[in-house]
């Protein structure tokens, strides 16, 4: 929260005009008062209002420059009559006033055209651009009139002033990869799948993957929720990728690969973070060598996520798209500390993207890895996926066996559903909390599909002890818990119910509680800083570790998290690294700085009232294979939208683009 001279942001009204600076009130919002380490912001103007941090701001020029940005940011506009001409008229009229040639009638025209844009524009950008401009005209009318009456230019009209603008939207703000979601949905709506796919690939090379297995945090920030239900954002991403694959096109890259800049980067790990780093660095003309320990590419999405959720043929297309950018892959190559020391010499920078591939323990009595039947989730999924997808190793056959998985997240869901497909006799999932929480941690679909397939969920339970006979697992002692509300209104607590413990006979216990990072590849003498949960520490903005030139992204940096999170980190890191290898400096672009500011401010406002859209148009749901059709095979469960479903879903998107601009 920062002190402001004037603010109309999101309905607040703070007016410190004629008030001494030390008595200025604070805004209730996380406005970007400090632009970056060496620049203060003087003003912030956006879809929801305007905030001035400095008395000296030229409000007429600010309004004019904001209108100019609307002209500038053509990627999002020029698609409707009110926006196309209205935006230009706004700019021309404001410029006329600012250069000292305006008339009072121009103010009326501005108001009239502004109102038309607010009512009839195609997307939110056209509807919201007039908002702060009209705010300024209303609250600084005297300033406008002075210029008009005296026919003089506005106070800084002829000076060089720095304005930095960015287009955003609630969904892309919430997406860790900041995918231009309205653009790829527009591609689907316009039946221009190439445009849709290229919009996705601007910041997300794994379109097949994130069109299928993303937990879609964007949908929690979808403004359509304020009206009825969120857009099925994730499922619409798949359309472009499937179209490219179905039609056998060459890869549609959103950018031209730049000429070789003579620099090279080593990337450790060919999972989502590694692939993403490689793709965007290669596009910048940096030579990229990706080292992968496993015989196959793709990381956990390849060997962790099962075939029925993420068909490898489709993932391989994403990987081939990355390769097509000119990336060099080296498989079966585990990188150790000696390699790292050498890489530091041989390469201009190194990206560590090794994920978290050690399954954490359940922490029960007699938990020993040498008991036969104790099988970590990572190892189990490795074996299943390597066989199912690549024919490597041997088939997992659980016929006649009982399997108990301890977990509650996506990995544990994969474990139990794979166990069903491996023909297990009985599959249990043990989870400390309740059904609601497991759905929150995964998805509604994932949980219900597992239940349909016959997985038995034991809630409010935890394994207390492994019982073995001669090192062969026989049974588990399971404790029951209950949720006891805190009488003081605090968080409810799980309390063990004495005497309710019971025993389950089982052949396997598969811990899928969480995973940790294996960081033995980092030379000890580098003393790379770690987080308190034993992952690599960075500042979360440029992703450089405490050692210069060594970067980290994905799960080994963040801890076990989503694919889209890894991609988002790696995309940013690739941008930073592309500059770093050339200049030796670690910098962010203005666009990235603004991205972080807006993320802090939060673009999505769940209380906002949506107007101009008919509520009650239902969200489309794609067809899912029936339980009998899917239970004992690896067919993709979710069939994706039909074209008709996709188009009607895309029509629901409200194109909530916004422009934010800082004067710094």
């Amino acid at each position: 929260m920062s002190k402001v001279y004037f603010s109309t942001w999101n309905g607040e009204f703070i007016n410190n005009i004629n008030t001494p600076a030390e008595e200025w009130k604070e805004s209730a919002y996380n406005l970007p008062a400090q632009y970056d380490s060496h620049r203060e912001s003087k003003a912030f103007i956006g879809w929801d209002g305007v905030a001035l941090f400095d008395k000296d701001v030229d409000v007429i020029r600010l309004a004019m420059e904001y209108a100019a940005q609307y002209q500038e940011y053509s990627e999002a506009c020029g698609r409707c009559a009110p926006g196309r001409w209205g935006g230009r008229i706004l700019y021309d009229q404001l410029d006329k006033i600012a250069r000292g040639e305006g008339s009072r009638a121009d103010l009326d025209h501005l108001r009239e055209i502004g109102k038309s844009m607010q009512i009839t524009s195609k997307c939110e950008i056209g509807k919201t651009v007039p908002n702060p401009i009209i705010d300024l005209m209303t609250h600084f009318e005297d300033v406008f009139l002075e210029c008009i009456n005296e026919q003089k230019p506005s106070k800084h009209y002829n000076e060089s002033v720095s304005y930095i603008a960015k287009i955003t939207s609630p969904c892309s703000d919430a997406c860790p990869s900041h995918v231009d979601i309205p653009a790829y949905i527009e591609g689907v709506r316009d039946l221009r799948m190439d445009d849709s796919l290229m919009a996705t690939r601007q910041t997300m090379p794994l379109a097949h993957v994130c069109g299928r297995v993303c937990p879609h945090p964007c949908e929690d920030a979808c403004r359509r929720t304020n009206l009825d239900e969120p857009i099925s954002i994730m499922a619409l991403k798949r359309l472009g990728a499937d179209w490219e694959t179905d039609h056998g096109y060459d890869f549609f890259h959103p950018m031209e690969k730049k000429a070789d800049c003579g620099k090279k980067v080593a990337i450790i790990g060919a999972g989502p973070a590694g692939l993403t780093t490689a793709y965007y660095l290669a596009a910048e003309g940096v030579a990229t060598d990706v080292y992968e320990e496993l015989p196959v590419l793709g990381g956990e999405v390849a060997v962790g996520v099962p075939e029925y959720r993420m068909p490898i043929a489709k993932y391989n297309k994403d990987i081939e798209c990355v390769r097509d950018m000119g990336v060099n892959f080296i498989v079966n190559r585990k990188v150790n500390a000696d390699d790292m020391r050498k890489f530091e010499q041989d390469y201009d920078a190194v990206m560590v993207a090794t994920g978290t591939r050690i399954s954490k323990k359940v922490y029960c009595d007699n938990e020993r890895a040498d008991i036969k039947g104790y099988w970590s989730a990572i190892e189990m999924l490795d074996q299943i996926n390597l066989w199912d997808k690549y024919g490597i190793g041997e088939r997992v056959d659980l016929t006649g066996k009982t399997v108990v998985c301890v977990g509650g997240g996506f990995t544990s869901m994969d474990v139990v559903r794979c166990a069903i497909r491996a023909n297990a006799k009985k599959v249990y999932m043990i989870y400390r909390r309740d059904e609601k929480t497991i759905i929150k941690n995964t998805t509604y679909e994932e949980y219900h599909e597992a239940v349909e397939e016959g997985v038995e969920f034991l809630f409010h339970s935890a394994v207390a002890r492994m019982n073995d006979e001669e090192n062969v697992l026989k049974s588990l002692l399971v404790d029951k818990f209950e949720l006891v509300p805190d009488p003081n209104g605090g968080r409810a607590e799980l309390v063990k119910i004495e005497g309710a413990s019971y025993t389950i006979e089982t052949d396997f216990l598969i811990p899928a509680v969480s995973q940790s990072a294996d960081l033995k590849l980092l030379p000890e003498e580098w003393e790379i800083e770690k987080t308190s949960w034993a992952t690599i520490k960075t500042n979360g903005k440029d992703y450089m570790t405490s050692r210069k030139g060594i970067f980290a992204s994905g799960d080994c940096e963040y801890g076990p998290m989503t694919i889209v999170n890894a991609v988002g980190q790696a995309k940013r890191a690739a941008s930073v690294m592309a500059r770093y290898v050339l200049t030796g400096e670690v910098t962010l672009t203005d666009d990235e700085i603004m991205e972080d500011h807006l993320r802090k401010l939060r673009v999505y406002d769940k209380k906002e009232k949506v107007t101009g859209w008919l509520p009650g148009v239902a969200r489309a749901h794609s067809e899912v294979l029936g339980v009998d059709e899917r239970k004992y095979n690896n067919r993709e469960v979710n069939l994706g939208f039909t074209q008709e479903e996709a188009m009607s879903e895309a029509e629901r998107c409200m194109r909530c683009y916004y422009i934010a601009m800082v004067q710094a």
Binding site: Y70, Q71, E72, S74, E75, A76, C77, G78, R79, C80, A81, P82, G83, R84, W85, G86, G87, R88, I89, D92, H109, E112, I113, S116, I119, T120, S121, K122, R189, D190, L191, R192, D246, H247, G248, Y249, K609, T611, G612, W613, L614, P615, G616, V617, E623, L639, T642, Q643, E644, A646, M647, S648, E651
Partner: protein, 747 residues
């Protein structure tokens, strides 16, 4: 499941089906909502914002073109507030729109003009700085950006209906413009649909530019005479000078629902300017008296075909038309299994399909109507489309989801394999089942080059499909094994949910095949040619012994690929004699050619409808009210599948008869605006095999034919098959389209 949604528009109770929008329901109910960018055959452009409406209890205005109604909602389409905003939008559209209506091609039929008047925009309250926007000359099409209102109709049509995807919006707010996609200049099939849909004078025909005003032209509704798609069009005519003859100035089409290719749109001037004189007429009568046969083309009306049939019967002469004969025989074999005369499918069925197999034709150029239907199916239904052919076609890539590349000449085997997988669970008769059981799959996979995996991939990709269509292209009609191929196609249609479309080669191949009793063309002496070669030639083409009217100079009907009998009309008059005049000389006595329309062969499904009772329009909702559909006719189904023959081998240099885009026949060849590129097109590999290089003059020999062409390398082609155009020559339509050929360089 398909529940109707009940709601109200302006107090009137209406109902919507799933997928309908407020605007489409309003239009059906006859309620007017103004639009500038809406076009029925594409997804909504949603750029003009004119179609906003108010919904009871909803704050703000709702866009009606892309919003489906919800149960019980009450919509108002015409409040003062809405009118005010719509007027403001019109004011914006008029900002800096050049006042050149006096010379603009669109003037008089311009949506911007019309709506400016409708909303009474008399003065400009808004202004913006004007910008320099030079005219773009793209060949047959010109683009005037300063007139463009950025409605995006052209872009949508080009991508979603035509499939060229050749233009796109260059985003840029006020300076947004339409540009060629991935190219400096427009690189497309020049269908001109973008011109048709342009609501203003931004996209125009360069050939028509500044030549006439809309209000001076007379419209003659007709049917395109270039291929069997039977596209509706209007010839627009006017006198060409003071006291001058009428001339066709341009062709327009009902772009709201129908589409037209460039040959239809720009290739309209194929009228016969020669005149028939009495002495030539008398010689023609003598020639027919002494003739043993009349040879004719399928570029004639049903009525002409009927007269020829009457002449045959009266004079006891033979009729030769190899194109219609092989087609008729194909359909006869088809009928022997299906038990009915007509194929079940249509262009509409293709449009609605979500799974299509197209085999044996270079369909994008053979029949653009089929291509556009495939594009619609692909874009709007996400159809899985299997394109089975020995050669790739770049025009098909955007719709094809699976290229099934088979060896030349092995079509019978490919059909057998397709029928086998499609009918694997069908309730076949014992003998039909035995046919499949006896197939030697190893041999078929090896010879056709179609693998089991490809077939199962196809079946997988079709697994969610609800409407399927099999399209039989022209390669299969004049095939050595056509008869068995037709039976296999019939079997698929009979025992599966596939509908079937057999593509006729010429505009009226289908009609002729239903009307005439044709005999094998034996190349005997004393043959009179009717629009075809002969010892005495009666023709609407140049060099005839007796000139007759071309298809845009006469009344009559065609039968299209849809089995629809479509009327064609007189756009330009012809001075001379008609076939009917000749018939009269032989005592076949009806006053006018069109008096025969109601007498066409009933056994083939023609109805007793007089020509003047035939309608020729699309309803405001796109229903086809042109002519009539042939009645379905049942027949005996006593055909048996034959055992497969050994597959032939085609080695060496092969030519494939195939016309370039915008060319179909000797009539399009005449058209002034259409390019006449008659190169032999081949890949570098073909050049090596034939020992010729780009630009060489070559002599191509196949069968008994020798022709000379210039060889041109085409980087989009692969393999050792070259494309040989036929629009400037005539080829024997009874021969398979792939020919083993000898090619020598001519110095």
């Amino acid at each position: 499941m398909n529940k109707l949604i009940n709601f109200k528009i302006d107090g009137i109770s209406v109902e919507a089906q799933k997928g309908e929008t407020i605007l489409s329901v309003a239009r059906k109910a006859g309620i007017y909502i103004p639009t500038m960018c809406y076009i029925s055959k594409t997804s909504p452009c949603a750029s003009c914002r004119m179609c906003v409406v108010e919904a009871e209890g909803v704050e703000g205005f709702v866009l009606s073109c892309n919003t489906p109604p919800t149960e019980g909602i009450e919509i108002s389409t015409n409040t003062p507030a809405l009118q005010n905003e719509r007027t403001n939008i019109m004011k914006l559209y008029d900002v800096n729109h050049p006042l050149e209506c006096g010379v603009c091609d669109k003037s008089g039929e311009c949506d911007l003009q019309n709506k400016t008047l409708e909303f009474n925009v008399e003065r400009q309250s808004f202004s913006a700085r004007d910008q320099l926007r030079p005219t773009q000359n793209w060949g047959l099409i010109n683009y005037e950006p300063s007139l463009c209102i950025m409605c995006e109709k052209c872009v949508h049509v080009c991508n979603e209906v035509i499939g060229d995807d050749a233009i796109e919006v260059k985003f840029g707010g006020y300076s947004s413009t339409i540009i060629p996609k991935n190219s400096e200049t427009l690189d497309c099939t020049f269908c001109g649909e973008c011109i048709a849909v342009c609501p203003v004078g931004a996209l125009i025909s360069s050939g028509f530019k500044y030549r006439a005003n809309a209000w001076e032209l007379s419209r003659v509704p007709s049917t395109c005479a270039h291929c069997s798609a039977g596209c509706p069009l209007e010839y627009e005519t006017r006198h060409s000078s003071i006291n001058g003859e009428n001339e066709i100035y341009r062709v327009k089409n009902n772009f709201e629902f129908a589409s037209l290719c460039g040959a239809g749109r720009f290739g309209f001037d194929f009228d016969n300017k020669a005149q028939g004189n009495e002495s030539a007429f008398n010689r023609a009568i003598e020639a027919i008296k002494g003739a043993k046969a009349i040879r004719f083309s399928s570029m004639i009306t049903n009525e002409e075909a009927h007269i020829l049939q009457l002449l045959k019967e009266k004079l006891g002469i033979k009729l030769f038309n190899e194109d219609a004969r092989v087609f008729g025989e194909f359909m006869k074999s088809y009928s022997s299994v299906s038990g009915k005369v007509h194929h079940s499918g249509s262009l509409d069925a293709i449009k609605q399909s979500d799974a299509v197999i197209i085999i044996g034709g270079r369909i994008a150029t053979d029949n653009p109507g089929v291509r556009y239907a495939l594009t619609t199916a692909s874009k709007h239904n996400g159809a899985k489309i299997v394109y089975a052919h020995p050669m790739e076609d770049t025009l098909m890539q955007s719709v094809t989801t699976q290229m099934m590349k088979y060896e030349v000449g092995t079509e019978e085997g490919v059909l057998a394999l397709l029928a086998h997988v499609i009918l694997s669970e069908a309730d076949l008769s014992d003998s039909e089942r035995a046919f499949f059981d006896e197939l030697d799959f190893g041999y078929l996979y090896a010879e056709t080059n179609i693998g089991e995996e490809e077939l199962s991939h196809m079946m997988n990709s079709f697994s969610r499909a609800k409407k399927r269509t099999l399209i039989i292209g022209n390669d299969l009609i004049a095939h050595e094994r056509a008869s068995n191929i037709a039976k296999l196609a019939a079997l698929i249609e009979k025992y599966s949910d596939f509908s079937l479309v057999v593509v006729p080669r010429e505009v009226n191949t289908l009609g002729v095949s239903l009307i005439n009793t044709l005999e094998h063309d034996e190349n005997i002496p004393d043959v009179v040619g009717y629009n075809a070669k002969g010892d005495f030639v009666i023709s609407s083409l140049e060099g005839a012994d007796l000139a007759v009217a071309a298809l845009n100079q006469q009344e009559g009907t065609f039968v299209s690929i849809d089995n629809r009998v479509l009327p064609t009309n007189v756009a330009l008059s012809f001075h001379g004699y008609t076939l009917n005049d000749i018939a009269k000389a032989f005592g076949i006595d009806k006053k006018n050619t069109i008096d025969y329309t109601q007498e066409l062969n009933k056994k083939a499904g023609f109805k007793t409808v007089a020509f003047d009772d035939l309608e020729n329009f699309l309803s405001p909702f796109g229903d086809d009210n042109r002519g009539y559909l042939l009645d379905e006719v049942a027949c005996k189904a006593d055909g048996e599948l034959e055992e497969l023959e050994d597959m032939p081998e085609f080695n060496g240099t092969i030519v494939y008869h195939c016309d370039p885009v915008l060319q179909f026949n000797n009539y399009t060849f005449k058209a002034e605006q259409l390019p006449r590129e008659n190169f032999l097109l081949g890949s570098a590999q073909f050049g090596v095999a034939a020992r010729i290089s780009d630009g060489d003059n070559v002599e191509i020999s196949f069968g008994a034919t020798k022709i000379q062409r210039t060889f041109k390398l085409d980087s989009e082609l692969k393999g050792t098959i070259a494309l040989n155009p036929t629009f400037d020559i005539s080829v024997d339509a009874s021969r398979y389209r792939f020919e083993k050929s000898k090619i020598v360089r001519v110095v």
